[in-house]
Amino acid sequence: MMLDALHLARAQFAFTMSFHFLFPAFSIGLASYLMVLEGLWLKTSNSLYLDLFKYWLKIFAVVFGMGVVSGIVISYQFGTNWSAYSNRAGPIIGPLMAYEVLTAFFLEAGFLGVMLFGMSKVGKGLHFFATCMVALGTLISATWIISVNSWMQTPAGFSVAANGQFVPSGSWWPIIFTASFPYRLAHTVIAAYLTTAFTVGGVGAWHLLEDKTNLQARKMFSMAMWMAALVAPVQILAGDQHGLNTLEHQPVKVLAMEGDFEASPDGAPLVLFGFPSEKDATVHDRIAIPHLGSLILRHDAHAPLPGLTDYRRDRWPPVAVVFWSFRIMVGLGMLMLSLGLWSLLARARKRLYDWRLLHRAAVLMGPAGFAAVIAGWVTTEVGRQPYTVYGQLLTADSLSPLAAPAVGTSLVMFVLVYFTVFGAGAAYIVRMMGRLPTGEELEPPHIPQHAAGITPASAIDLPPAGVS
């Protein structure tokens, strides 16, 4: 591969974006989980929920912080590395991203301080409100950014001005709600919830292996396994619908995912495995089930499907990448479903908390959500190539007027810094997760940061959490 500015800039975006995506994938789900825990605590007064809330709040703070700083990098990278794209697509994507900042980022940031540090300052109800606002903020943020991404995948509602800019042709509704938006949003948000569920489940299982009587570990494991059992099937359904939508709007992407180089007039097979070669336009050593591909994609075993060779070769995405990342995502999805079903069986047999093999499997599957999210993102983004705005603007025409050494240097810097900083962050998170959750969580959000409004005596002698 040629190491020109274009490839370096693409590598940089893929690298910084993949890293960034890990954090919101976790914090979207975790924020909602914290909201549920605090809500349950307020409703039942069961301090078990408060213990779990405090346990995960500290982890959330670290994850959220890393998400913020890696996100700022992304928001400026559009301009530094992709200025031609920014100028041409700015009038469309700019307002959507500005709305994300206005409606989501400020909401999260404004209430995060109170959520983390303010429990002793604002009363329970108001604190719960702050937690809800942070959770709501993560979801609003996901909505806007998925809207931007969906417009890039299935652009609509625009015309091209004389200066080359994409400009709104009328109403903003068709721009915000493009054809792929609802499917992509559902698939992504559910993925974030599943990622969190499997992480929480993995941590719970780890502690159950150590001490199966630990009440906090039991509660988090049970909650996570309900999510796995109930939400994994929903996600597979959402993924199927998203795939059908993609076939309609971006058939080339789906053909690359499936490894269908040749047209299949009598129904396409489902390629389970093989080695796609763009050069030979075929999948080597292929293992395939006849007609199943058409059955899945068209719900008719004999429905014809086109092949990649029906399209211009220079408009193919990198087939092997899309082919493999798709299989990784689907494979992990199936494993998640299996674990969820297994947990139902364990529940029925009343062995949820002492089936060690199940716990070991859950620990192993702890990071599965992250891997699936990245694999899925690679599938959809690499599958959009060679365009930034699908069918409208080539990636090659989106680049900043930069010399390769500038982009290369910054890429090396990002790689070094990200591995150091986020490596340390991951280590801290794993260490926090390794601590057995007990009833005596270190007094977290209660110790006041500031003395205002509280007499010195009460600042020292604060009642423990849950005592009111």
Binding site: K58, V62, G65, V69, G71, I72, V73, S75, Y76, G79, T80, S83, N87, R88, G90, P91, I93, G94, P95, M97, A98, E100, V101, L102, T103, F106, L107, E108, A109, G110, F111, L112, G113, V114, L116, F117, G118, K121, Q165, V167, P168, W172, S400, P401, L402, P405, A406, S410, M413, V417, A424, R431, E443, P444, I447, P448, Q449, H450, A451, G453
Partner: protein
Amino acid sequence: MSLDLAIVWALILAFVILAYVVMDGFDLGIGILFPTLEVGPERDRAMNAIAPVWDGNETWLVLGGGALLAAFPLAYSIILPATYPLMIAMLLGLLFRGVAFEFRWRDPLQRKYWDAAFALGSLVAAFSQGITVGTILQGIRVVNGAYAGGWLDWLSPFTVLTGVSVVLGYALLGSTWLIWKTDGAGQVHARRLAMKLAIGTVVAMAAVSVATPYLHYDYWRRWFSMPNVLFTAQVPLLVLVTSAIFVWSLRRGAERLPFLMTLALFVLNFVGLSISVFPYLVPRAVTIWDAAAPASSQRFMLAGVSVIMPVIIAYTGWAYWVFRGKAGTHGYH
């Protein structure tokens, strides 16, 4: 009609940048001053004085980038490549200091490294921002609506001077914030720092002000031709008045006035900058009208801003109010 919108958006952008500078300025400043603070309670309190609000403060930077992209995409697509290494350095600096807020509490053995990362990251981010301001003032090479220079064109004695000025100014904001939010030995220390930093900041501001008109004749005319000078001369006059109140309030032992006067200095600086630059976004190359996004984009966002911005200001104010008063030494960590 589109003319009006461009001016409205220029004003909004100016407000956002100013909001960023005055809010993130003091927490970057505390980062810059961190190495001078004593290890232990003095550092912990300084950290706690900004921990609940820094994330919100930095969000104004994201909004600034977003608003520039959305309202003036052409300017965004020129300025960012022109300041490429500065932007990368700023982002990496913000990254290091941002994670330090949490990481420093996680492992006492590694705390000194994260404290160093916090300080260095803050310094690099502030210096990069200052150089960027200087780069825009000194001009950017634009051909056919795209950046046409090299990747180190921004470097000059003038831009280094603006970089140093912003570092000093942010440090001054940080020290006066510490005067407000701490007491005891830490506050005494902050007062001493504030006086030195104020002298440094005013000297640096004066140097930038003297140098700017020599960058280009256009700047000279804006500031010194009649009748402009009757208006522009108010800016240095007000700087003098503000500085005098600052010194008086610091000597008198006031806790809030030094910070507020420093904010006033930043506002005056910003007005001075606007006098030099307006109506250009990239001086002498791209005006706000050249760069304006189509009216439909600007109008769509304006609707959102006019409704949501007051709400943001309200709950941001509430968050500050919740954490009013002196900072403690304990986090929730």
